[in-house]
């Protein structure tokens, strides 16, 4: 992954542009978004979305996470670490 957006949106993506992957607006309450862990941490990690925008994501429910893990994020919280 290259050219990541260097600004991290805290605890979700509320500063980001409205349209996200799949045509869903990321402000929708029920859009699940696949993100890539780029800076693991606890309880929150920095993750990149499909548009390489960075977000702070709570990862307690799927911890531990590593760089390169893909996680499914709902409303700022990762609910599943995806099998690779």
């Amino acid at each position: 992954m290259s050219e990541l957006d260097s600004s991290v949106h805290p605890a979700g993506a509320s500063g980001a542009a409205c349209e996200a992957q799949d045509g869903h607006c990321i402000t929708c309450s029920d859009a699940g978004i696949t993100m890539l862990v780029v800076e693991p941490g606890g309880p929150s990690s920095v993750c990149a979305d499909e548009d390489r925008q960075l977000h702070e994501v709570a990862v307690e429910l799927v911890a531990p996470v590593q760089i390169g893990d893909q996680v499914l994020v709902h409303a700022g919280v990762a609910i599943r670490r995806l099998a690779v």
């Binding site: 979700g12 509320s14 309450s29 599943r80 995806l82």
Partner: protein, 371 residues
């Protein structure tokens, strides 16, 4: 992106469409319900129904969290938002849902401090940054979103934050499905199961559908090939006379769900005795409220709310759409008085609502057919 691009291959889609055709009994009409609004959105966005034979009908279920919120609950939220000193936060699509008189966006225009957030964690951050203000989060959603609210409340409690509270409207998917299966005016042959809800709750809660009602369920992903494959799997079950819960989406959905998320939810929430669903009426034990241990964060305890049941506008047929009894375009006000810009009903507000999804994508196919 991995897990995305490979599931949007148009040629493979055509192959699956051919396999679906080969699986059908030409003399039978198949009625399959996709429960989740995310599936509804994908079906219209990718034109999946255009790939299906005429005797395979997709019916849209009640799994859009915004669509099922009754007007009275919106009024409760607006009443809280109008309190002096309150910062009222909610998801973006909730802002435009009509209450009995107006929306949260209108309340904002009138001077209420209403802010859109993506995550309840954003709302908690606002509370940290504004210790002199009361910050309220209007929580909606199924089991996909409820863990986010639960985790946020756990953090609030651990940090001793006292100016944060929640209007809890979280709902659970199984009770309305049971209500639909009991409904005499809806005959369904199978269900496309809600992939992301199952990520949290697992496959087991859906076992009652084949066991008690003799209908197959296939838990499905949200990409076009996922949905087509799930339809094929349902049809194969029907043809073989099998009836079970199958998982088309194992790359995301574990059989047992996310146990840590379930634990957090069990600590923070308890079942409400009953809750009103838009179009479906009151359903027992179908929604969550804060548990005794977290009652101090309950905005309904902290603020006065009207708590009045409000009937839907007569012209609006969201109830029938949510139950799959009518198609979005069969509603009297679809696309005329009710559009995404000026929604009367909830199904036209959220991108996951059947009416909005159809208005944004599907109607063009029908217009082409008409020409």
């Amino acid at each position: 992106m991995k897990f995305v691009d490979e599931y949007r291959d148009a040629e493979l889609g055509q192959v699956l469409a051919g396999e679906i055709l080969a699986e059908l009994d030409p003399g039978r009409h198949y009625k399959l319900m996709e429960i989740c609004g995310g599936h509804t959105h994908s079906i219209y966005k990718y034109g999946i129904d255009d790939l299906l034979p005429a005797n395979v009908e997709l019916v849209h279920g009640p799994g859009c969290p915004v669509c099922v919120i009754p007007m009275g609950r919106v009024d409760d939220g607006i009443a809280v938002a109008h309190n002096d000193g309150v910062i009222f936060t909610c998801f973006g699509d909730m802002l435009r849902v009509p209450g009995s008189e107006y929306t949260l966006l209108d309340a904002k225009a009138q001077g209420a401090d209403v802010r859109m957030v993506y995550s309840p964690l954003d709302a908690l951050r606002i509370a940290r940054e504004n210790p002199e203000r009361e910050v309220v989060f209007f929580a909606i959603g199924f089991e996909t979103t409820a863990p986010s609210t639960a985790l946020t409340l756990k953090r609030a409690k651990a940090e001793g934050i006292t100016n944060f509270s929640c209007v809890c409207n979280h709902v659970t998917i199984v009770p309305p499905m049971r209500a639909l299966l009991e409904s005499p005016d809806l005959r369904l042959d199978g269900f496309i199961g809600p992939g992301h809800v199952c990520t949290v709750v697992g496959a087991r809660p859906f076992q009652f559908i084949p066991a008690d009602y003799g209908r197959p369920v296939v838990i499905s992903g949200f990409e076009p090939l996922d949905i087509l494959q799930s339809i094929l799997m349902i049809l194969r079950q029907l043809r073989a006379g099998r009836c079970e819960v199958e998982n088309q989406y194992p790359r995301v959905v574990p059989q047992e769900g996310n146990l840590r998320a379930l634990e957090v939810m069990a600590e923070v929430f308890e079942l409400r005795p009953h809750f009103e669903w838009r179009g479906l009426g009151f359903i027992s034990q179908s929604a969550l409220r804060l548990s005794e241990a977290y009652r101090e964060f309950d905005a309904e305890e902290r603020f006065e709310v009207p708590g009045v049941r409000v009937a839907d506008p007569k012209a609006c047929q969201c109830g029938e759409v949510l139950k799959g009894v009518i198609k979005p375009w069969e509603c009297k006000v679809f696309g005329t008085a009710c559009t995404p810009e000026h929604a009367i009903g909830t199904c036209m507000v959220s991108p996951e609502g059947a009416c909005a999804a159809y208005y944004n994508f599907g109607r063009f196919a029908r217009e082409r057919e008409a020409v």
